[in-house]
């Protein structure tokens, strides 16, 4: 292997050069083949991929519809604010480290981090999540100057829900919160996934929940050119969103305000209904809470406070509290007696102050009794013995059948979700409710206290109001509803919620008139007279006291009992008597006597509704001794 001859060596070298040249050409041919493959054969595929890279379809969340009262007062609206948002999947490096750096530029507090952590746990990886909300203009400018340091983090303008009156009507409006998996299921059920791309909030309770798909609107889209950091460079095309529909309520905000104020710091519920339509004029559950707390994601402290409070402000008492109706049940009992022919109005019983059934004695509240009592007096003075006897004569199944027609123990179908059913006791109900045979049996002794609205009776305030409205409307029952009409924000078209008569109860008008006259008597000369003293209109009412504590014959002394054990005070009313425009049911938890605690609230509400009279203080408690000791 030696090249002694230089010429031979040069030849050899040149042949090697030729090989090298061939190798070069072969390699370049290989590259050329690759270019043909990528740039000709696969060109359209890669073109699409390049476009996909470049163009991002950004949903534009529509303005959520407004909620206004019957006079156009805005109860729920939106405002725009800047938020600082992080897309965890686009952030380079350690997220906590990046947030530390971010905190140098923008004020980020421990609670912001906490909330953000929670959001990350709940969210999918590719979502943009707010780390700070409501940035000031100064903060926005400051971040934009540093934006290049933070790929995957950007400022976004977002709409926030606002309830301008805070806690006012909270249980009616409800609130919105971040979309959860459960909400996603509802969205999928409605086939609305595409329309909810980019939507981060969902109605959780109240009207916000029930009318979610009306309020939401149609999501718009923007084609944006983005760079590799995910920052938008420019907009290519835009389809504008369509704002959600507005809700106009039957609710009267001023009336609602008066009703809420009338409670002062007492717990309870009030429902006022227009009897001829079922439109709800006021729906109160006290105490309430500020729904604005939920919009940004509620802080854990606030959440704990609301949920551990003994007053249970999160419970909508009007729809989910079930209470014995007490003596407010009596007018319906009397009407049943007339309908079934068990009593004539003028038929008189003697009330010695008690009623013996078997070996048990049922006491009347008035010691010594009411003496001779006809139907009118039984309602006006709220005589228990009359109804003990009547209940016994009617029997539980007749009572149940009759009361069911007035909606007792049935959901009313109000346009708020999650309404409770209550309990309309009957033999059938007892069989279903209990498991042991000896418990399933209905004892006729149990029927007696049903007659005065005690025992197993448990109804929601909205049921009491609906029954009152139905009676006021001469037996024609409407579905109670809060929304009067839905306005399409684009066309301005209004879709009215037509008053839906659920049923007309087969009653004789003469019977109805007798009961109404007796209820007018209550407010004129009976248990409601003090609360309605001096009223310039004629109204009908009935007081009630729902017993919580078994007194076992002892005298009920309010002051000696713990507040939680005091009776619930109730009052139902309608006015004006000749052509009722409003029917009200009031419940004051542990309020004591209905005449003292609940009736004055109803008076303020009716006064405003009929006369426009604005009270200047919460409804006072009538502290004088009532005419009767117990209702």
């Amino acid at each position: 292997m030696e090249f002694r001859n230089p010429e031979e060596h040069i030849d050899r070298f040149r042949s090697r050069l030729t090989v090298a040249g061939g190798f070069v050409l072969a390699c370049f041919a290989l590259l050329f083949g690759r270019f043909i493959w990528l740039q000709v054969v696969q060109h359209s595929y890669y073109q699409t991929r390049a476009e996909d890279n470049r163009i991002s379809l950004v949903p534009i969340v529509p303005n959520r519809g407004l909620i206004v009262d019957r006079n156009g007062v805005i109860l729920a609206r939106n405002y725009s604010a800047y938020t600082l948002e992080v897309m965890p999947s686009r952030v380079q490096g350690d997220l906590d480290g990046v947030i530390d750096q971010l905190a140098v530029v923008i004020d980020i507090q421990a609670k912001d981090r906490k909330r953000f952590k929670k959001l990350i746990e709940e969210s999918k990886n590719f979502e943009s999540l707010p780390i700070r909300t409501r940035l000031t203009d100064e903060e926005v400018a400051k971040f934009i100057a540093h934006r290049y340091q933070f790929p995957g983090i950007d400022i976004k303008a977002r709409l926030f829900r606002q309830y301008p009156f805070g806690a006012f009507a909270a249980h009616v409006l409800g609130y919105i919160g971040r979309v959860t998996d459960d909400d996603m299921e509802k969205i999928e059920d409605q086939d609305e996934e595409a329309n909810y791309r980019g939507t981060e909030h969902f109605g959780k309770t109240g009207l916000e929940q029930h009318y979610e798909f009306d309020l939401h609107g149609v999501t718009g889209f923007e084609q944006v050119e983005v760079d590799a950091g995910g920052h938008a460079v420019r907009t290519l095309e835009r389809t504008a969103p369509i704002a959600g529909n507005n809700l106009a309520l039957t609710l009267d905000a001023k009336l609602q305000e008066i009703a809420e104020n009338a409670f002062g710091d007492r717990r309870g519920a009030l429902v006022a209904i227009e009897p001829t339509t079922g439109g709800i004029l006021a729906l109160v559950s006290m105490p309430n809470y500020d729904p604005n707390l939920f919009v940004d994601g509620i802080g854990s402290q606030d959440w704990d406070d609301l949920n551990t409070s003994a007053d249970k402000p999160m419970v909508n008492r009007a729809l989910n509290g079930a209470y014995p109706p007490g003596s407010t049940f009596k007018p319906y009992m009397a009407l049943a007696a007339l309908t079934y022919g068990k009593r004539k109005p003028e038929q008189v019983i003697f009330d010695p102050g008690y009623f013996n059934f078997g070996d048990h004695t049922f006491h009347d509240d008035k010691k010594g009794g009411h003496g001779m009592v006809d139907m009118y007096k039984s309602i006006v003075q709220s005589c228990d013995t009359y109804y003990y006897m009547l209940a016994n004569d009617l029997g539980i199944d007749n009572i149940a059948t009759f009361m069911r027609q007035f909606g007792f123990g049935q959901r009313t179908g109000i346009d708020i979700d999650g309404e409770s059913e209550g309990v309309l006791p009957s033999q059938e109900w007892k069989k279903k409710r209990f498991h042991r045979p000896e418990q399933q049996k209905w004892y006729s002794g149990e029927t007696i206290s049903i007659g005065i609205g005690q025992g197993y009776n448990a109804y929601t305030p909205i049921q009491l109001a609906q029954a009152m409205a139905t009676l006021a409307n001469n037996g024609v029952m409407f579905r109670p509803h809060l929304v009067d009409h839905v306005t399409d924000t684009r066309s301005g078209d209004k879709t009215y919620v037509e008053p839906q008569p659920i049923r007309t109860i087969p009653l004789q008008q003469s019977h109805i008139d007798i009961i109404k006259a007796a209820m007018v008597g209550v407010n004129k000369e009976g248990t409601g007279a003090r609360a309605f003293a001096g009223a310039t209109y004629v109204s009908g009412g009935k007081t009630g006291t729902a017993q919580l504590y078994s007194l076992k014959g002892e005298k009920y002394a309010e002051g000696k009992l713990k507040k939680e054990l005091r009776d619930h005070a109730l009052f139902i009313a309608f006015a004006p008597a000749e052509a009722p425009k409003i029917a009200v049911a009031v419940l004051v938890e542990n309020g004591g006597f209905g005449a003292q605690a609940a009736a004055p609230i109803a008076r303020q509400v009716i006064d405003y509704y009929l006369l426009g009279k604005v009270p200047n203080a919460p409804a006072g408690e009538d502290d004088s001794e009532p005419e009767e000791e117990r209702e």
Binding site: M1, F3, F32, Q39, A50
Partner: protein, 365 residues
Amino acid sequence: MNRWHPRVLWQKLVQPIDPPLLAIAGALLLAAMIIIASASPERLTNQAISVVVALVVMRLIADLPPQRLMHYAPLVFAVGLLLLIAVALFGDISKGARRWLNLGIMRVQPSELMKIAMPMMLAWFFQQREAMLRLSDYAVAAVILLLPTALIVRQPDLGTAVLVLAAGGYVIFFAGLPWKIIVALAASAVAAAPLAWNVMHDYQRARILTLLDPEKDPLGKGFHIIQSTIAIGSGGILGKGWGQGTQAQLEFIPERHTDFIFAVVAEEFGMIGNLVLMTLYALLIGRGLMIAANAPTMFSRLLAGAVTMIFFTYAFVNMGMVSGILPVVGVPLPFISYGGTSLVTLFIGIGILMSIHRHRMLVQK
């Protein structure tokens, strides 16, 4: 004429320069300016300064006779090797690799020097053995080649190691390494591949895995290669136009002014741009091989051949990795990628070719 007459001075200045080589290199530099102006306009001035420096260096080298180059070859190699050892012992670490030597006033990367020092040294070695070349000499050459290469691999700097290994390998190949040995080496290389796999760094293995299936890790290691193939493919035949490449302008192509600049070429100028670039490289290589063929001495032949083939290796490895047929190693696109160091190295190579070409007759006479 007066020796200070401008015309005389000009002739003196251009005398060592080979017009065809300068024309091809000039065309490549022009292309570089156009592409950098699109990919990274703010770096244009810097690159222009590098071009001037590189041209001055080329002119100086071109003026040196090959004998002088040969004379200095062992010294340059020894200095390069010592610096590599120094790097291994005291080098600065940057981005996880120990490549730089801090000399107080400047940081140098000795592995870059090896790209030229290696072929010079081996060409010198074969020149010494010209009359009595034995098979054992190839073994010595292999040691000269593998020692610095191993040091560079250890830094680690796979791209430079590939180039240094190739540079030396070409010298040995042109020196006449018998085909049987070449075939045997190729066969054992294939056999040793699993062994090499075991000694590789994780990131090096990842690069190879990424080449095989870039979509497996689209946001991580596969990102570079996916985005560059999208850029090339979406460029089509005619390209999207200068400054119009969405992949390049919206920063989807990483390192788009350095190692991945070819993706910008392919996206904005399409296959036409690729072919123009490949043609310029082919002309450069052709001219270089021609100079090698006519070189008078063993040293100059081997050096010219090896330098030419380094240009090819740069171009092929870079275009191959950017278009996804070779693993990603840090090799710039010759004459086009932004960066002064590699540009100076390349123009030292051009200068060497010019020197060899100019002195082809002098020795023969």
